[in-house]
Subunit: 284 residues, 2 copies
């Protein structure tokens, strides 16, 4: 792969969580989020707008972060676009070092935040500052430019088995799927990548995260695995030939199953082995 | 891949079915079996010994083949090794053009037939004559040299998630898994291949078959797909490092999802595209 991929995430980091991260016991991922966000000096904003019960989600994470030493997490309280328009982006975001987007429905997340001044300021901060943007489940899916909205599990790769929709665009050419092996989503991620193999598919398990440092390297962190579906070597792809809802053949998909502590170069598209020497800035 | 793989299947053909093939309506796979076995002149032996209810399985297939024009299918009636020892291999197999092994438990199939004169004669016939050996579900799994006995579905690749046991050995370096996408078995097949990437993994869906012509080419036939898991490019494999029941990382797995009418060279390990020119003997 010498193809040059779109670049984004320059100064900040993304913490993309496959859902169901531990909030009460070991809490490795939430602790990692806070460590990356500045440790004891972390200023956190919770964005619970994807949730059906945003007040409840806000309370759960407020308590979780308080238990880990964050005095006063901020919350974006919004159940409509009007609420987001009326919120003051500066008041919410100035001084913030970590933003956490909860689970729920990625379509709600994106339709409430997309094109607002809040989203614009957040994107600017991720590009220009060392802020950490975390998202879990729907909050993870919504980070992609091409976001998986819904799809059937455990079926074959099937033309319409998965629907894509424009996401918030923090991950330029990476499609995220979550609850990945728990819900048997390999076929739908292969389908999503087959639509346009320019996109890299990353399926993240529950209580597991990938950390993207903005320099082209992602690290796997947590209990499960990240499954990378790289379609750049696809040599045969029937997706354009078959009818809606029909299954299709696809040859030459490359698959990497990466666990805690392994790295992947998502621009050059190759895994880095633990013992392999490479220059990587300390990412926490 | 220039590695030369063990060779077997010389004169005969294998029809390896992912289970649940249609026996009452379109019956594409059973018809294909009979066509490959000589059409109207087919002499069929049913081997129902994998089944918990071998008499019932024998009746189902006897009726199915009669409905398709086979006057008197033979049946290997055996519920113990003693029964197999006492059966006359010549009487059962002489003149037979197609053998059909039913589903059930592959461990029962192999432990009843392995090392018997019947199995020896059958192996000889597959090597030396144009006989067709078909197996569905357990009858498919049992054809491998390394046979999947049991394994968990939908989990991550996990060291002990799948157990291998010696099979009947018709497929020298191919591990077969069946009911493949229906039961979400991709992780266990990746695990089985990771044990020794010399083996090629082939996961076959229900009502779907692969036809191996003995010349190194397999064809996919039927309703679903055959998923090829090729580990020959695996660049990193933790399976030897982790403890029992632990998940592991593995990088560089190649995946091909092939549907009806597609071909794969299982010795050279590359898919053949439908329009690609290649010299293939007519396989029916």
């Amino acid at each position: 792969m010498n193809e040059s991929h779109d670049r984004e995430i320059i100064g900040g980091k993304l913490l993309v969580i496959g859902g169901a991260e531990d909030k009460y016991n070991e809490r490795r991922i939430l602790k990692k989020f806070l460590k990356l966000s500045g440790g004891e000096k972390a200023e956190v904003l919770i964005v619970p707008v994807a949730s059906d019960f945003p007040e409840f989600a806000a309370d759960v994470y407020t308590q979780a972060f308080r238990n880990l030493g964050v005095a006063n997490p901020r919350v974006l309280r919004a159940t409509s676009r009007q609420d987001v328009f009326q919120a003051d982006p500066d008041e919410l975001l100035d001084g913030v070092t970590g933003v956490f987007m909860t689970g729920g429905d990625q379509m709600r997340l994106v339709s409430l935040l997309g094109g607002t001044k809040f989203a614009e300021k957040l994107r600017h901060m991720v590009r220009e500052s060392p802020i950490v943007l975390a998202g879990t489940s729907a909050g993870a899916a919504g980070m992609s430019t091409s976001m998986i909205v819904r799809g059937e599990s455990t079926s074959h790769p099937q033309k319409d088995s998965v629907r894509l929709s424009p996401g918030l665009g923090f991950l330029k050419n990476i499609i995220i799927d979550q609850h990945f092996t728990e819900r048997g989503r390999i076929s739908r991620l292969i389908t999503a990548v087959s639509y346009n193999p320019y996109n890299l598919g990353v399926g993240i398990d529950e209580n597991t995260a990938i950390i993207l440092d903005g320099q082209g390297v992602l690290e796997v962190y947590g209990q499960g695995a990240a499954t990378i579906v790289d379609g750049s070597q696809i040599s045969y792809n029937e997706i354009a030939e078959v009818g809606d809802h029909e299954s299709f053949s696809v040859c030459g998909v490359q698959l990497h199953v990466l666990r805690d502590g392994l790295f992947y170069q998502y621009r050059d598209r190759h895994p880095l082995q633990p013992r392999q020497e490479f220059l990587l800035p300390d990412i926490g």
